[in-house]
């Protein structure tokens, strides 16, 4: 069975390896630039706060790739890569055999369908994990300068391409492809369902599940007090409330103090609008009861969240594979 799996997929394996090599090359080339830019920023901006030499803008943190599209573009590719193995190897695994009628050949040899599925799906899942793992490892190195600069590794879009979770995504995509192929029995519709299902699962988990793995920490403070969570935290929401508890409007093209439009602050604080105006005692007194809050996931939870998210996708994949096994064994071939 292993031999058959290898023989059937050796062409795809070669293509997959070539694509992986191309992606690795892209990551290494842009990654090396990122590293050197990062070192330039550190050395140039260590002593000065304004513009350093060589055109480095220290006030905005330097800006790796100077705000160009490279980092965003590469990140987008990395978000999409885990689904590819499931799309082009997983979906056809059962469906293409049904289309060619070869299930009637393969399933009349001396091994059971359960064994056929176990060995074939096993190797493909391993390939998917390797595909996701190699890309995740390289991406984690590639992203380290931007993470160090922006502390953004916990944010959706960055969290999703780092460390462990891409492996789980690739495994889920593979299981989804195999299951869709077994249910639909036609390759192209199975690929469409795999793509749609993968996007739906990723979006749903990112938007509605991940923020609640552990209940977020909310810090409430006086409007005038400063607070900044440490490290690469994930900001869920922040805002300001007046003494009545109402959320204050976001500033829009008007003078701002403490993150809110000055026009919506008490009159005693009107002086804040002038460039020289400080927080007067009367203003400070008038601001009693105004609160500012930050809801966030602390940086220390990063690995917990990686683990939970990996678990969620591995469990989903296990459910899909169980469904596949039941369908293949129970349904007429």
């Amino acid at each position: 069975m292993t031999w058959l799996t290898w023989r059937q997929y050796r062409a795809q394996f070669a293509v997959g390896t070539a694509i992986l090599a191309a992606l690795c090359l892209l990551l290494v080339l842009t990654g090396l630039q990122l590293v050197s830019q990062y070192h330039t920023i550190i050395t140039e901006c260590a002593s000065s706060t304004g513009n350093g030499q060589n055109g480095v803008n220290c006030s905005t943190g330097g800006g790796l790739f100077a705000g160009g599209p490279t980092v965003g573009f590469v990140s987008l590719i990395l978000l999409a890569t885990p689904v590819l193995a499931g799309l082009f190897l997983g979906a056809p695994m059962v469906a293409a055999e049904f289309e060619a009628g070869t299930t009637q050949f393969a399933w009349m040899q001396g091994i059971t369908r359960a064994r056929w599925l176990a060995v074939k799906a096993g190797w493909l899942l391993l390939a998917a994990a390797a595909w996701g793992g190699v890309l995740a490892a390289l991406t984690t190195w590639w992203a380290s300068p931007t993470n160090a600069e922006h502390g953004s590794e916990f944010y959706p879009g960055r969290f999703d391409v780092l460390y462990l979770v891409p492996v789980a995504y690739a495994v889920l995509a593979m299981a989804l492809g195999i299951c869709a192929g077994a249910l639909i029995r036609r390759t192209v519709p199975a690929m469409a369902v795999t793509l749609g299902g993968f996007i739906a699962a990723r979006v749903a988990v990112t938007l509605w599940l991940r923020p609640h793995y552990l209940s977020a920490v909310t810090v409430t403070r006086n409007l005038t007090a400063q607070f900044q969570p440490t490290g690469s935290y994930w900001l869920i929401s922040q805002g300001e409330r007046n003494p009545a508890g109402q959320l204050m409007p976001a500033p829009a093209n008007q003078p701002v103090a403490f993150g809110v439009p000055i026009s919506s602050l008490p009159k005693a604080c009107g002086g804040l609008a002038s460039p020289t105006g400080g927080v007067t005692a009367s203003c400070r007194a008038a601001l009693t009861g105004f609160r500012s809050f930050v809801t966030y996931q602390p940086a220390s939870r990063f690995w917990t969240f990686q683990g939970i998210e990996t678990g969620v996708f591995v469990v989903l994949a296990a459910i899909l594979l169980t469904v596949t096994a039941v369908v293949l064994i129970r349904r007429d071939a």
Partner: protein, 298 residues
């Protein structure tokens, strides 16, 4: 004598469509059994049920002493070749032989190579580039190479020209003679395989019309030709399978060995094709003039 296939009340429904109903058949060991029936009679369904690829919706069956199931021992005993001759298009014959060697406990690669060489099937070309006859020969040889005790072939000769058809049946007959296996092969024509088969299952409209050894079946059927008259007297002692009236005479195909006393009837033996057509006629449009009644339960 060992019974290889035995079914009781076997049936298969696809939604509301009945593909096979109340099917009772028996095939003893060592027979080459023709499964005959018009298109859509349920031949493929029966073969797929026997192979274990599909599950029945009613009834029971015993194939090689057990219910068809997902079990290596059962799968090793049964070879099935589907009508569409499924092979991996990009794989060569040699690679198919390797698949078989990896997936079967009993497997004889040397035998396959010898047989394919003698049939001029190239071992090193992709199956998709072989001719229809070569593909069928390759698939049959692979089916036989796992040394099954029962081989189920679904319309194996339908796509072949007469010469390839003869080669194919000869390959199969050789294998039966060498290994003592049991074969069921389906076709909508009995003439294709009259020379090699010795057992018959006749399906029509999802029901079994006839099942038995061909010699025995022929011995219990007779053609009676007589003047056009009432057939009630015959019907009391025989089962009338088919009645054909022309302007002056009546031809009957009857089942039963009771003597016909009325000297007006001339009795003669029936040919296999004639008998099969009479039973199959249930579905066919009346091609003969004045066809008044046809069929009858066995």
């Amino acid at each position: 004598m060992t019974t290889v296939i035995q079914t009781r009340g076997l049936g298969k429904q696809f939604g509301r469509v009945t593909a096979l109903s109340d099917c009772d058949v028996t095939v003893p060991e060592g027979r080459i059994c023709a499964l005959i029936g018009p298109n859509g009679a349920g031949k493929t369904t029966l073969l797929r049920l026997l192979s274990g690829l599909a599950r029945p919706t009613e009834g029971e069956m015993s194939v090689l002493g057990s219910t068809p199931r997902q079990d290596p021992a059962f799968l090793a005993g049964v070879g099935f070749l589907a009508q569409e001759i499924p092979l991996y298009r990009r794989f060569t014959a040699e690679e198919h032989i390797s698949i078989g060697a990896h997936l079967n406990r009993r497997w004889d690669p040397a035998l396959v190579r010898d047989r394919l060489k003698s049939l001029n099937v190239p071992l090193d070309r992709a199956a998709g580039s072989l001719s229809g006859g070569q593909r069928a020969q390759l698939a049959l040889t692979l089916t036989l190479a796992k040394k099954p005790r029962l081989v189920l072939l679904d319309e194996p000769v339908a796509a072949l020209d007469p010469l390839a058809r003869r080669h194919f049946l000869a390959t199969m007959a050789d294998a039966v003679a060498d290994d003592g296996l049991t074969v069921v092969l389906s076709s909508h024509l009995v003439a294709d395989m009259e020379r090699v088969v010795d057992h018959l299952i006749l399906l029509s409209a999802s029901h079994v019309q006839l099942c038995g050894d061909i010699d025995a079946l022929l011995a219990e059927h007779r053609v009676l030709v007589g003047p056009r008259k009432d057939t009630a007297a015959i019907a009391r002692t025989h089962t009338i399978v088919q009645t054909v009236h022309t302007a002056r005479q009546t031809t009957l195909l009857v089942r039963g060995n009771a003597p016909v006393i009325d000297p007006a009837w001339e009795s003669s033996e029936v040919g296999l094709e004639e008998m099969v057509l009479a039973y199959m006629g249930q579905d066919a449009a009346p091609a003969i003039s004045d066809l008044t009644s046809v069929g009858g339960e066995t």
